[in-house]
Symmetry: C2
DNA sequence: CTGAAAGCGCTAACAC
DNA sequence: GTGTTAGCGCTTTCAG
C-alpha cells in the first residue's frame, strides 16, 4: 500500500503539502504541485478512505435499510438511490431485514453519514433514540406519525382513488375490492381512496364487495385473488376488480379464465404495484404504478443535502401515483 | 459520541484495559470487567468502526459489483450474499455498473476486504492489476479464462443440454433455438448444450432452426421471441422452442396464441432464467433455473474464508442447473 | 492484571 | 509556500 508518506518522502516535501495538493486546498506552487501529482500517479497513490473518514468524521457512505420483500419487488429502488449517490461520490451499503435498534447501532458505529429507511414499522417513541444519534435519516414510503422526520411518502390514497375513479368512469359501480394485509398502511390508504371515490360518485359501498384473504406470501396472494373471484362471481355481482397488489390480480385473472370468461370483456381487473409479470401476462394487467425510482432519487437527494449542507429543515414529500392502463380494463358490459 | 476514553475515565482505568475487556482479549479481573461492562452499557458505548478499521486494516465489509440488469433480474443474489455476511458480521456495499478499473480503485481505497464480482467482461491481462491490490476477489458466473482466480460459475452448458434432452425425450426432434446476444458467454454455452444434446441423440441440427434477434432490451427480447415463432411457424416445421431467456419465451407464447394455437398442445416452449413472470403467465412457463442464491452464498463463503483465514487456495466451482417443468411442455403432437 | 505509548493514514491549525 | 504537530478512536506491544 502506498501512503501519503511515501509521496512526501519521494518528493522531499512534508505530508501536509502533499495532502494539500492532493486535495486541491491551495497554498503551493505550480511546480511542487506538478511534481507531487506526477509522483502520486507514478506510485499509483490512492487515498485511504478509512483514514480520511476517521479524521473528518465523514464516511461518504449511506445505508439503505429495507426488507427482503422490498428488495425482490423493487430492486429499482437500489439503482435509483445508487445513481444519485454516485454523482455525489457517495457509496451505498445495503442493510436487509433490520430493525430500528440495529439502525441506531449502525449509526453509532460511525460507518454511515446517514440512513435511508424503508418499510420499518416504527413504534411511537422509538424514533427518539435514532434521531439522537449522529447521522441523518430519511424515511421512505412508510407510515410515520411523527412530524419531525424527513419523509418521502407515496400517495397510496390517491392511487386507490384514481383506480376506482377510472373504473367508475368506465361505467362500473360494483367493484370488488380485494385487499392485502389490513394492518399494512398502504392497504388502508388504498381502501380509503376506493371508498372516497365511491362516495364522491354517490355509489353506496357494499360490505360483501370487500374481500380479505391470506396474503402472507406471493402464492397466498395469488390464491386470495383466485378465491375471491371464484367464490363470489356467481353469487355477488360485480363487473370490476381492484386489488391492492398485482399478485392478487393475477389470481383473479386465472379465476376468470377458469370460469370460461374473459378479461376485460366480462370483468375488468386493475392491480397495484406494477410488478414485473404484469407486462407479460395475458391480458397485460392495468395497474397503479408506485413511483419507486422517484422515491429513491428524492430520498437520496434529501439525505445528501442534509449531510453535506447540514441543512436541518425537515422535509416531507408525498409522491403522486400514476395509472398504467394496459389491457385488462373495459367498459361495463351491458 | 461516547468513546473508549470516556469509559476509561469513568472507570478509572486505562483505555488499554477497557479495550481488552470490550474485545474479550483476557488479562483482567472479573471485577474490573464487570465494572467496565456496566459503565459501557450505561454510557451506551458503541465502538467506532472506522477507527478500528484504520488500526486493524480490516473493514469487515465487502463489495458486490453488478450491473443494473443483474440487479433487476436477480435481486436474490443480494439477499443470499447478505445473509451469509450477516452471520459473519460483515457488511455489504453495492457497486453498480462498474468496471475493472473502478474495482481496482475501490480496493485500494481500503474500504473493502474483498469484492464479489458479477458480470464484468474481463480482458485478459486486466485482471493482473486487480489481483495485485490488497483485498480478495471472487468472480461470479462470468466467463473468466484465467485459472488463478476464485470463480463460482454456472453450468449453462448443462442447462442447454438438459432442456434439449428433456424436449427430445418428449419426442421432439425439430427444436427451434432462439438465442440472445451471441457475444454473451451464457448464450454460447446454452447453444453448445443444445447442439451437444442433439448430436448425442443422433439428430442432425438444422441451420434454419437457430434464430437470432435483437435482444438489447426486455421488450426487444419479447419481440424476438414473438417474431421468431410468428415468421417461422408456417414455413419451417418445429414442435418445440428453446429460448435462452424467459422473456424471449414470453414473446413466443404470445405468437402461438395469436396464431390460434395452444401451448403446450401445438408447441412446447421452454425458457431460461426462471424470471418472476414465468410463474404467473398462462401457461406457467417451464424453464431452466439459474441457481442464483446458491451462487451468492458460495461466493460469499469463499470470499469470507479467504479474508479471514487468508486461505489462498484458488477455488473454482461450477454450479449445476435444474429444470423447472411447469405447464408449457408436452409430448410431440402426432 | 494494568498502563504507557506507539501508530494505523490522513487532515488541518498554526507557525514559519 | 511549506513544515511541524496534534489528533481522529482504536488496538496492541511491551514494561511493570
Amino acid at each position: 500500500m502506498v501512503t501519503i508518506k511515501d509521496i512526501a518522502r519521494s518528493s522531499r516535501l512534508s505530508i501536509a503539502t502533499v495532502s494539500r495538493i492532493l486535495n486541491k486546498k491551495g497554498n503551493y506552487s505550480k511546480e511542487t504541485e506538478k511534481k507531487v501529482l506526477r509522483i502520486a500517479k507514478d506510485f499509483g497513490y490512492i487515498a485511504n478512505l478509512t483514514a480520511r473518514s476517521l479524521k473528518t468524521g465523514l464516511t461518504r457512505t449511506i445505508g439503505i435499510v429495507l426488507n427482503d420483500f422490498y428488495l425482490q419487488q423493487y430492486p429499482s429502488l437500489i439503482s435509483s438511490v445508487f445513481d444519485v449517490l454516485r454523482t455525489h461520490d457517495f457509496s451505498l451499503e445495503i442493510i436487509l431485514n433490520s430493525n430500528l435498534n440495529e439502525c441506531s447501532r449502525l449509526l453509532s458505529e460511525g460507518r454511515f453519514d446517514g440512513l435511508l429507511i424503508t418499510d420499518i414499522n416504527v413504534e411511537p417513541g422509538e424514533l427518539r433514540e435514532l434521531t439522537e444519534r449522529a447521522g441523518d435519516l430519511v424515511f421512505l414510503g412508510g407510515d410515520i406519525e411523527r412530524e419531525d422526520v424527513n419523509l418521502v411518502e407515496i400517495d397510496y390514497f390517491q392511487g386507490g382513488y384514481l383506480a376506482t375513479k377510472h373504473l367508475i368512469n368506465l361505467g362500473h359501480t360494483d367493484i370488488l375490492f380485494i385487499e392485502d394485509d389490513t394492518n399494512l398502511f398502504f392497504t388502508q390508504e388504498i381502501k380509503r381512496g376506493y371508498l372516497f371515490s365511491l362516495d364522491e360518485n354517490g355509489i353506496q359501498y357494499k360490505e360483501p364487495l370487500i374481500i380479505r384473504g391470506d396474503t402472507s406470501s406471493p402464492t397466498a396472494r395469488e390464491m386470495t385473488g383466485f378465491n375471491a373471484v371464484k367464490r363470489n362471481f356467481r353469487e355477488t355481482s360485480f363487473s370490476a376488480v381492484l386489488a391492492t397488489d398485482d399478485k392478487i390480480a393475477y389470481g383473479a385473472l386465472k379465476a376468470v379464465s377458469e370460469e370460461g370468461l374473459k378479461v376485460p370483456g366480462n370483468l375488468s381487473v386493475i392491480g397495484f404495484g406494477n410488478m414485473s409479470p404484469s407486462e407479460y401476462i395475458v391480458p397485460r394487467l392495468s395497474t397503479v404504478e408506485i413511483p419507486i425510482s422517484q422515491m429513491g432519487e428524492l430520498g437520496a437527494e434529501i439525505l445528501l443535502n442534509n449531510i453535506t449542507r447540514k441543512d436541518s429543515i425537515i422535509k416531507r414529500v408525498k409522491l403522486k401515483i400514476q395509472m398504467i392502463d394496459r389491457e385488462s380494463l373495459s367498459s361495463k358490459p351491458a
